[in-house]
């Protein structure tokens, strides 16, 4: 094995060494313009999504979907914050880089080979490869509201002949939510400012009020946890003193309790005349 092959096989475990790895072994270098370019393109995409038919259809129908849910669920509300406007957010530049790091290295089971058939994830092409560059979130009151709203939004997209995929997330670290990935076609300017037409996805996250609270409190933990891939990772479930044990099982327990709440809510509704 020659020196170059041997060094490709050295897996970077920190973001700084990953950036060096990108430069030295994939020839992907970052100039000073890249962060600004990234933000500029994301802003354009976000603004175009906010003017799109599907986005406006979702905004317009949220109140209606809440009323339909109340109608079939004894006036229990669907939305936790019905008057809060939906906001499209841009994935911060560093978060985007960290995600490519996870995809290329941390979670790459094909290492030292590329993670997918199309090859390595190039940060310059993140708009096509990363499905949550632009995202929003909706918070619902009850556990069953998550899938209910996800299916409703998926139907709205389908009515407009727009592709969408619903993923019900149930992660080991106690994260529970629905993620809807909606297709969006965009003219992406290259850094040299010619453009390419590309189909990308934007993400709608739906979770319960309590899961939203947990996420806000533990967001930093989740973010850092995803960057570390230690050999000890598999035994955290037995390390009851670890932060990982506590934070992960909070998410699971809350999910279970929320399920029981819906069960009780629905059974009480059946008792009423």
């Amino acid at each position: 094995m020659d020196r170059e092959d041997n060094q490709i096989q050295e897996r970077p475990f920190e973001l700084s060494s990953y950036i060096i790895w990108l430069q030295e072994y994939l020839g992907i270098g970052f100039d000073d313009r890249f962060p600004e370019y990234y933000v500029s393109v994301c802003t354009k995409i976000r603004d175009n999504i906010s003017k799109s038919n599907i986005w406006n259809e979702i905004i317009r129908n949220l109140k209606e979907l809440d009323a339909q849910y109340r109608r079939s669920h004894n006036n229990f509300p669907l939305l936790a914050h019905p008057n809060q406007p939906l906001e499209l957010l841009i994935k911060p530049y560093n978060s985007m880089l960290k995600k490519t790091f996870r995809m290329n290295v941390i979670n790459n089971n094909n290492w030292p080979n590329p993670p997918r058939e199309e090859g390595w994830i190039n940060p310059y092409e993140c708009f096509e490869c990363i499905d949550d560059i632009i995202r929003t979130s909706v918070v619902v009151k009850y556990l069953d509201g998550v899938k209910h709203l996800a299916d409703d939004i998926s139907k709205l997209a389908s009515n407009l002949s727009i592709g969408s995929t619903v993923e019900l997330k149930a992660k080991e670290e106690g994260y529970y939510a629905a993620h809807i990935y909606v297709s969006h076609v965009e003219e992406i300017p290259n850094i040299a400012w010619d453009t390419r037409k590309t189909e990308m996805l934007f993400e709608i996250q739906i979770r319960t009020q309590v899961q939203d609270l947990i996420r806000r409190l533990l967001h930093t933990y989740y973010s850092e946890h995803r960057l570390s891939k230690s050999e000890q990772k598999d035994i955290w479930q037995w390390d009851y003193k670890s932060d990982e044990f506590a934070t992960s099982y909070i998410g699971h327990i809350i999910h279970y309790i929320e399920g029981k709440i819906v069960e009780i809510r629905d059974s009480q509704s059946e008792i009423k005349p």
């Binding site: 209606e64 109608r71 004894n74 509300p77 019905p82």
Partner: protein, 144 residues
């Protein structure tokens, strides 16, 4: 649905699901019990999340008042013939009884000769409709 009913519900920013349900209930009263309302009133309140919650639908004409309780999801209908109103009580908050604002709340309680009471509550611009009902329907029928 009568144009003025639709207009009223639009003023309350009622979702289509609610409008359809009101229409459905008006149809039930009309077809089954030959009761056609001259006026409608939907009670509402604002919950802790800022959502507008509608509880009862009142259908009103000269013969009496019909109430569909929790009308959005239940079939719970009644009717009370009205001749005279024994007394009424109005309570309000952030409301001058003329021009409602986003913080206005008002409630009206009617006591009939038969000791039956009606409770109607309203929020925001619906307070103006409650006052109109009080002025046009309740006052003329209140015992002097």
């Amino acid at each position: 649905m009568k144009k003025e009913f639709k207009q009223y519900l639009d003023e309350l920013q009622a979702p289509e699901t609610l409008v359809n349900r009101v229409d459905e209930i008006i149809g039930v009263y009309s077809e089954l019990w030959n009761f056609d309302p001259k006026t409608i009133f939907v009670t509402d309140s604002i919950n802790e999340d800022g959502a507008r919650i509608h509880d009862s639908l009142f259908l009103i004409n000269d013969a009496g008042i019909a109430e569909a309780k929790n009308f959005l999801y239940l079939d719970d209908f009644d009717f009370v013939p009205i001749d005279k109103i024994l007394s009424w009580n109005i309570a309000s908050k952030n409301y001058n009884f003329i021009d409602a604002n986003a913080k206005s709340r008002a409630s009206l309680r009617l006591l009939l000769l038969s000791s039956i009471t009606f409770d109607m509550k309203s929020a925001q611009n619906n307070c103006d409709y409650l006052m109109k009902f009080h002025r046009d329907y309740v006052i003329p029928r209140t015992i002097n």
